[in-house]
C-alpha cells in the first residue's frame, strides 16, 4: 500500500460538535463564571428573539440554583413555543437554525449558541438538557430530555412526554453544569442581564440568584421594537465569489431581472444602467456570464451610486427607548442619544446608535462605563479588542469636556456610554461574540455617532457652567452683599449703603441712575446709563415728566401724553460702555416717576422698570 493510501485511512470528517467539544473557549465557555454567564445569555437571547418573532412582550424568568457541585440554570419565557418535532434539533444540533440564510437583524445568527450551552452542560455534568415547550393554550406542553451525539452532531432524545404546564405558551430550558456564580458589577449574570434590560426596555426579566435573592428588571415600555424584515443582499461591498455564486444558482432567466430581484436597492432603471456600464446584454441568462464578465459587473457595482439599503431589515432601539433604558438602570442628570443612518459594509446593512448618560450617581473619578451592544445583545468580555472601544479611544474627549488622562484612551468622569451596532450580520472577532471587528465602515460610523453625542454633551456642560456661574452670582447678591452692607452700617453707625449699583456690575446688567441738581432756578437732570454686560445692548429709555424739558442732550423724542411728555432715547451700548443723558426742567412741582427701559429682559436691568 502506498503511504498516501495508508494516510487516507486515517482521514475522516470531524463533526462540528466534536470540534467545539475540544475548543470550547471559542464559544465563550473558557472559565467557570463565564460559562454560566454565556449559558444564561444564550438562552435569554433565544427567548427575546422568539418573543419578537411572535410579537409578544417578553417576560423572562431566570433561576440559578446550586445543586451539589453543579449549578442548574433555568430560563423560561412566554414566547410562541417550539413545535415538538423541532425541539431536539433546535437545542441539540449545532449550526441548526432559521436565521443563518436570512438577511435580517436578530440576536442569534448561526444556530450555535443554545446548542453549545447544551453541549457544555452535558460535558461537565453528564446530565441531559430538560426542555418544556408549549405552543398555545389549547395544546399540551412537550417535555423532553436531550443530549447531543457529538460524533454525528445529531440530537439524541432520552425521554419525551406530554405534560401539563400552567403557561399559555412558552419555552423552558434547564441545564446543569459546572460553573461559578459571581455577583460583581459588570462581568456577572446580574451585570449582563442589567445590560440586556437597558437595550430591551420592552422586556421584563426576573432573576432568582442562588441565595434566593430576586432581582426584577422591570420593563420601561409596552411598545415592541419594530420588527425587522428579511432583505436581499445590498450590492455595495459584495465580493466577487459571492456574486459568481449568486449568478450560477439563480432561477432568473435574464440578467436585468436577476439584478433587480437578487439585490436590494436596485430597480429596473439601475439594473439596466448596470448592464450598460458593464457592456452586458440585459437579456442574457445570468448563468452564462464568465469570470471576466462577472468582474465587469462587479466593477459597475462599485462605480454606480446605489441608494442605502432599506432600514426594514434592521431594528434599532431608537432614541427614546435608549433614553428609557438608561434612565431605568441609572440615576442620571442628563442623557443624549443619536441614531445614525443605515450604512453598508461588504453588502451588509448596519446602523449605529449611541447614548450617553451624565452625572447623577455615577462615579466622578473613574473611567467612563462603556456598554457595548450588538443586535441588542450586551458584549461583556474583550472590551479592549472591540471596534466600539477603539472608536471611543480615538475621540479627543478633552475637547468635549470629559477628562482623558494622557489625551487618549477611555475618558474618565461621571458618564456612561452606550453603543449599539445593529446589522444583518455583525462581524465578530470570534465565535464567542465578544467583540466587533475593526471594520473601517463600522469604526467610522461609531466615531460619527460618538462625536454627535459628544457635541451635545459639550453644549450641556457649557450651559451648566453658565448656570452655576449665575447661581454663584445670585448667592453673592442675595446672601453675601446685604450682610456686608448691614455689618458696615453697624460698624459705622450709618445707613446701609445702596448695593444696587454694585449688583448691576456683578450681574453684568445695564444700570440706569438719575441724579438731579439745582442750577439757576432750574433742575438739571442727569441719567447715567452703563452696560456692564459682555454683549452690546440696544434698547429704549423712557422718562415721563409732567412738563416740557429744555436742553435735552442728546436729542430725545418727546411724545405728549395725557398729563405730560414721554421723552425717550434710543440707545445702543457696547460692552462696558456708559453714556449720560441730560435735560433741564423748571423746578416747581416737578414729580419724577420711575425710569422705564423697553427692549431688554427685566433681570438684566438695574435702576429702571422694564416694559
Amino acid at each position: 500500500m502506498e503511504i498516501a493510501e495508508e494516510l487516507a485511512k486515517n482521514q475522516k470528517a470531524i463533526s462540528v460538535a466534536e470540534f467545539f467539544e475540544k475548543n470550547r473557549q471559542i464559544l465563550g465557555f473558557d472559565s467557570a463564571p463565564r460559562a454560566l454567564i454565556t449559558c444564561v445569555k444564550e438562552a435569554v437571547d433565544n427567548s427575546l428573539d422568539a418573543c419578537e418573532d411572535g410579537c409578544i412582550l417578553p417576560d423572562i424568568f431566570v433561576q440559578i440554583k446550586r445543586i451539589g457541585d453543579y449549578y442548574s440554570v433555568a430560563v423560561e419565557d412566554n414566547g410562541p413555543g417550539i413545535v415538538a418535532d423541532e425541539v431536539p434539533k433546535v437545542f441539540a444540533k449545532l449550526l441548526y437554525g432559521s436565521r443563518f440564510h436570512v438577511l435580517r437583524q436578530s440576536r442569534g445568527q448561526q444556530g450555535i449558541g443554545i446548542s453549545a450551552a447544551v453541549l457544555y452542560s452535558q460535558l461537565t455534568s453528564g446530565k441531559p438538557a430538560r426542555i418544556t415547550s408549549k405552543i398555545g393554550p389549547d395544546h399540551r406542553a412537550t417535555y423532553c430530555e436531550v443530549v447531543i451525539n457529538t460524533a454525528k452532531n445529531e440530537p439524541e432524545v432520552l425521554r419525551t412526554e406530554e405534560v401539563d404546564w400552567e403557561r399559555p405558551r412558552g419555552t423552558r430550558i434547564e441545564l446543569e453544569m459546572e460553573g461559578a456564580y459571581v455577583r460583581s458589577r459588570r462581568q456577572s449574570v446580574y451585570g449582563s442581564l442589567k445590560n440586556v434590560a437597558i437595550v430591551n426596555p420592552h422586556a421584563r426579566i426576573t432573576l432568582v440568584e442562588p441565595d434566593g435573592n430576586v432581582e426584577i428588571f422591570e420593563r420601561a415600555t409596552d411598545t415592541l421594537p419594530k420588527k425587522s424584515y428579511a432583505i436581499q443582499p445590498h450590492p455595495e461591498g459584495i465580493e466577487l465569489g459571492e456574486l459568481i455564486k449568486l449568478l450560477r444558482y439563480t432561477e432568473r432567466k435574464k440578467l436585468a431581472g436577476f439584478l433587480k430581484e437578487t439585490f436590494s436597492s436596485i430597480g429596473s432603471i439601475t439594473s439596466h444602467e448596470l448592464c450598460k456600464m458593464s457592456d452586458l446584454d440585459p437579456d442574457r441568462p445570468p448563468t452564462s456570464l464568465d469570470h471576466e464578465e462577472a468582474k465587469r459587473l462587479l466593477a459597475a457595482f462599485r462605480k454606480i451610486k446605489v441608494k442605502s439599503p432599506p432600514v426594514d431589515c434592521l431594528s434599532p432601539i431608537g432614541e427614546s427607548l435608549i433614553k428609557a433604558g438608561l434612565e431605568k438602570e441609572y440615576r442620571l442628570d442628563f442623557i443624549v442619544t443619536t441614531v445614525r443612518p443605515v450604512s453598508v459594509y461588504s453588502g451588509n446593512p448596519f446602523l449605529v446608535e449611541v447614548g450617553l448618560g451624565y452625572g447623577g450617581e455615577l462615579d466622578r473619578e473613574g473611567r467612563v462605563d462603556v456598554l457595548r451592544f450588538a443586535n441588542r445583545v450586551p458584549l461583556v468580555y474583550q472590551q479592549g479588542a472591540c471596534a466600539v472601544t477603539h472608536a471611543i479611544e480615538s475621540i479627543p474627549w478633552k475637547n468635549y469636556d470629559l477628562a482623558q488622562p494622557g489625551g487618549e484612551g477611555i475618558p474618565t468622569g461621571p458618564a456612561v456610554l452606550l453603543v449599539h451596532v445593529a446589522s444583518t450580520r455583525i462581524p465578530f472577532t470570534s465565535e464567542s461574540k465578544d467583540a466587533i471587528a475593526d471594520v473601517p465602515e463600522i469604526l467610522a460610523e461609531v466615531e460619527l455617532g460618538l462625536k454627535e453625542i459628544a457635541r451635545k454633551l459639550r453644549r450641556y456642560m457649557t450651559r451648566q457652567s453658565a448656570l452655576s456661574e449665575r447661581r454663584e452670582k445670585e448667592e453673592i447678591i442675595r446672601k453675601i452683599l446685604p450682610r456686608i452692607a448691614r455689618k458696615l452700617s453697624d460698624i459705622l453707625h450709618q445707613d446701609e449703603p445702596d448695593i444696587a449699583p454694585v449688583v448691576a456690575k456683578i450681574m453684568g446688567n445695564v444700570s440706569v441712575k438719575r441724579t438731579i441738581e439745582k442750577e439757576n432756578g432750574l433742575m438739571v437732570v442727569r441719567i447715567a446709563v452703563e452696560n456692564h454686560g459682555e454683549t452690546a445692548r440696544t434698547f429704549k429709555l423712557h422718562d415721563v415728566i409732567p412738563q416740557e424739558a429744555s436742553d435735552v442732550s442728546p436729542a430725545a423724542k418727546a411724545i405728549p401724553i395725557g398729563n405730560g411728555y414721554d421723552y425717550h432715547w434710543k440707545l445702543s451700548l457696547a460692552p462696558g460702555k456708559a453714556t449720560s443723558l441730560t435735560y433741564k426742567v423748571r423746578s416747581e412741582g416737578q414729580i419724577f416717576s420711575d425710569l422705564v427701559v423697553e427692549g431688554l429682559e427685566a433681570e438684566v436691568v438695574t435702576g429702571a422698570r422694564v416694559i
Partner: protein
C-alpha cells in the same frame, strides 16, 4: 491718641473705604500684597525680606472674595466692639471659635482666621497685639546668663534665666514687648531647634562655659520667639547663631529668623535678625563629620528644589549646600552627634563651627 484709639481708627478706615465703594458703585474690594515666594524683596534699609509690589485683589465679584470680605467685616466688628472698646482680648483659637455664631461668615478652620488676621495686620499696618489678639503659648524657652523684668497681669517679676528658673528655662511670654532686659553676661544667643539638643547643652553646661543664652525655638519659631531673639540682638548687641537639623525644613526655620518668613514678611522689620548666623547641621557637615543619616523623602527633595528658586536662599553659600544635599540624598538630625559621644557636640562640633564663624 492711645494705642487703642489708633487701632480702632484703622479698622474704621477699612470699613469706611468699603462703605464708600458701595456708595460710589465700585465693586467692593481689598488689595493685598500677594504672599508668595515670588513676591518677596530684599529691603536694603532694614536688611530683611519684605513683600514686593505684586498685589492680589479680593473682590466680591467671586464667591470666595465675597465671603472673605464678609468675614473681614465681621472680624473688624468683633475687634472694635468686643476687644478694643471693652479692653479685652482673645487668642487666635478663641477667635476661630467665636466665628461659630457668624452663620455663613464662619471660619472653616483656624488657619483661615489666622490668615485673615494677618491680612488685617497688613491692611492696617498694625500688629495683632494692637487688636488684643494673642497666640497660644507655645512653650518656647530661654536659658542663660540674663536678668529681665516682665510686666505680668499680676505685677512685675524680676527673673534671672539661670538662677530663678527650673531646668526647662524661662518661658517666653506671647507679648515680648512687656519684657525689660536688665543685665546680662552673654557672648552669644544660640537658637536651637529641638528640645533634646537644648537639654543636652544645658546638661553639658554649655551656657556657662561659653556665656551663651540658649533659646529653645520649638520647630518653626513663633513670633514671640523671633521677637525676643531680635531684641536680644538689637538692644543688647549680642550675636545670634542658629543650630537646627540638617534638612530643608530646618533651613526655612533659619530663613524665618534671619531673612523673614514668606507668610509674615509684613512684620520682618519687627521680627527678623539679619545678622543671625547658621551653625548647622550643614549638608557639608554630613560628609565632614560622617554623621548617621536618613534618606531624603520625595517631599524633602521637593522642598530643596523649591528652595533653589527661593530668593532668600539665592546666595552662593546656600546654593552650594542645597545642591550638595540634593546630590547626597541624605539628611541628618542635630542629635546625630550623640553617635560620637554625649560630649562631642559641646566639646568638638560647636567650638569648631563657632570659631569658623568668628563668634569665639
Amino acid at each position: 491718641m492711645t494705642k487703642i484709639e489708633v487701632a480702632q481708627d484703622k479698622l474704621l478706615d477699612l470699613a469706611r473705604s468699603l462703605y464708600e465703594q458701595f456708595q460710589n458703585g465700585i465693586v467692593p474690594h481689598l488689595s493685598l500684597p500677594s504672599r508668595t515666594k515670588g513676591n518677596i524683596e530684599y529691603s536694603i534699609k532694614d536688611d530683611v525680606w519684605v513683600y514686593g509690589d505684586q498685589e492680589t485683589l479680593r473682590s466680591v465679584k467671586t464667591i470666595r472674595g465675597a465671603k472673605s470680605l464678609l468675614k473681614t467685616v465681621y472680624l473688624a466688628e468683633l475687634l472694635i466692639k468686643e476687644h478694643l472698646q471693652n479692653n479685652r482680648g482673645s487668642t487666635l483659637r478663641e477667635i476661630y471659635y467665636i466665628s461659630e455664631g457668624w452663620d455663613i461668615a464662619k471660619f472653616h478652620e483656624q488657619a483661615e482666621s489666622d490668615r485673615l488676621i494677618e491680612d488685617l495686620e497688613i491692611v492696617t499696618g498694625l500688629h495683632r497685639e494692637n487688636f488684643h489678639i494673642r497666640p497660644e503659648e507655645d512653650g518656647a524657652a530661654v536659658f542663660g546668663p540674663l536678668r529681665l523684668r516682665e510686666q505680668t497681669r499680676r505685677g512685675e517679676r524680676e527673673i534671672h534665666c539661670q538662677e530663678d528658673v527650673g531646668e526647662a528655662g524661662y518661658q517666653i511670654p506671647f507679648n515680648v514687648d512687656n519684657i525689660q532686659f536688665l543685665k546680662h553676661d552673654a557672648k552669644m544667643v544660640m537658637a536651637i531647634e529641638s528640645g533634646g539638643m537644648y537639654a543636652r547643652l544645658i546638661e553639658n553646661g554649655f551656657d556657662e562655659e561659653y556665656k551663651c543664652i540658649l533659646v529653645h525655638i520649638k520647630g518653626q519659631p513663633a513670633r514671640s520667639t523671633r521677637r525676643i531673639i531680635k531684641r536680644l540682638n538689637a538692644e543688647l548687641n549680642i550675636p545670634v547663631v542658629v543650630f537646627t537639623d540638617g534638612d530643608p525644613w530646618s533651613y526655612r526655620i533659619f530663613a524665618s529668623l534671619a531673612y523673614g518668613a514668606i507668610k509674615s514678611a509684613h512684620l520682618s522689620e519687627h521680627l527678623v535678625t539679619p545678622s543671625a548666623k547658621f551653625i548647622g547641621v550643614q549638608p557639608s557637615d554630613i560628609v565632614e563629620y560622617n554623621l548617621s543619616t536618613d534618606k531624603l523623602t520625595d517631599q524633602d527633595m521637593h522642598a530643596l528644589r523649591s528652595e533653589l528658586t527661593d530668593p532668600r536662599f539665592n546666595t552662593d553659600y546656600w546654593k552650594k549646600q542645597i545642591q550638595l544635599q540634593i546630590d547626597l540624598k541624605k539628611k541628618a538630625e542635630q542629635q546625630a552627634f550623640a553617635g560620637k559621644g554625649l560630649d562631642y557636640v559641646t566639646k568638638t562640633y560647636l567650638p569648631e563651627r563657632l570659631s569658623e564663624l568668628g563668634i569665639i
